[in-house]
Amino acid sequence: MSDLEGRLTSALHDETTTISARPSLADEMVRRGAGVRRRRRVAGGAACLAMLAVSVPVWRSIDTSASRIEPAGPSTGTSPNAVTPTRSSPALPAFAAATVDVVHQRRPTPHVVGLRTGRHGSYDRVVIDLTGAVPGYHVAYVKSLVGSSGKAVALPGTAFMLVRLTPADAHTRSGRPLIQGPTTQTYELATLRASALVEDFEGSVSFGLGLSGRVQFRVFELIGPSRLVIDLRH
């Protein structure tokens, strides 16, 4: 892939990350569609065209808050609001040490574009940046971090967590990696010691986390742009 193609791809993806459809769009479209169908029965195709010409904005808003756009690199310093769940944030799940397994069927396959970390009051936060919908995820403690290559990845820490996203790719169809910079990082946070991309194969992307101990954690999704968040108790 040429340089221009790569830059075009990034520009197209960056350009759309702040765009999301209004939550009420689904209901509006059902009403509108039913209206068109009714009119069509009554007056034939002309009314349908007239109906189509009327426009109700489906644009939700372009969120302009600075919290949306964050430095892509890991911010190991004090970053009190690496993520602000401004929208769609009912009560966050409780902290627990049990495996989290959520299934989402997604087409087209979501892309994993980065991993960020930050230290918060009582937990360290890991944010996985995505384009497209949030894929299914499986977050669990494991004895060793093994991806599809079968080779264990060594990370600092005494407890290891595997975060597997399916369906997801961390590369484009043409093979260009989507995660910029090194895929293995170490941190000086209370709990989180290191992270590594351990698998990006056949629609499954896995990150390994090296932790200072088997702490409680919580996992939740954010949209606009799509992210998966894992909070690790101190």
Binding site: S2, L4, E5, R7, L8, T9, S10, A11, L12, H13, D14, E15, T16, T18, I19, S20, A21, P23, L25, A26, D27, M29, V30, R32, G33, A34, V36, R37, R40, M51, L52, S55, V56, P57, V58, W59, I62, T64, S65, A66, R68, I69, E70, P71, R107, P108, G132, A133, T172, R173, S174, I223, G224
Partner: protein
């Protein structure tokens, strides 16, 4: 059994944002993107009993989107009104160079003929194969190839990176 309306609402809820993003790249401004998406979704609603399978519904909606964007452009009506773009506030952390690069790229993209633009969006945003693009737009594989290569060549010219020896890359140094 669930009603068609409920199935359709689920589909719009799940895929609305993704479709709006594609519409936005195909259209020349946000308002046109809304209109394009609504027209396409209305057609999908009317065709719902034929489609059912959500994958088919999405492909169908995308096909309508791409074709509507091309035929609108042909009608010229939509070129009469060009609302001024107010760029969204993108936050302070964003490196200025990347922003300028992106703005130049999007501007150049909007100046391409709609078929070239549609091919580039499907190929580089949606990561579709040539065969899929051909099926979506109702073109031959060869036309998809030539639209893509002409579109890229035109982008290069519009971005001031012509094929001559003096390839100035001002966007990147900014």
């Amino acid at each position: 059994m669930r009603s068609h309306d409920a199935e359709y609402a689920d589909f719009v809820r799940a895929r609305g944002t993704a479709l709006l993003r594609t519409a936005y790249l195909l259209a020349s401004n946000p308002a046109q993107a809304e209109d394009l998406l609504q027209i396409s979704l209305t057609k999908t609603y009317l065709a719902w009993t034929r489609l059912r399978d959500p994958t088919a519904a999405e492909a169908y909606t995308r096909r309508v989107l791409a074709n509507a964007s091309i035929s609108w452009w042909r009608q010229k009506l939509n070129r009469l009104e060009r609302p001024a773009d107010v760029l969204p506030d993108l936050g302070v952390e964003h490196p200025a160079g990347a922003l300028a690069e992106r703005a130049a790229m999007m501007d150049a993209l909007r100046r391409l003929p709609p078929q070239q633009r549609a091919v580039l969006v499907l190929r580089y945003y949606e990561d579709r194969s040539e065969a899929e693009i051909a099926a979506t737009l109702g073109l031959s594989n060869g036309s998809v190839k030539s639209h893509a290569s002409r579109g890229l060549a035109r982008l290069r010219v519009l971005l001031g990176e012509g094929g001559d020896l003096s390839t100035t890359r001002s966007q990147e140094s900014g």
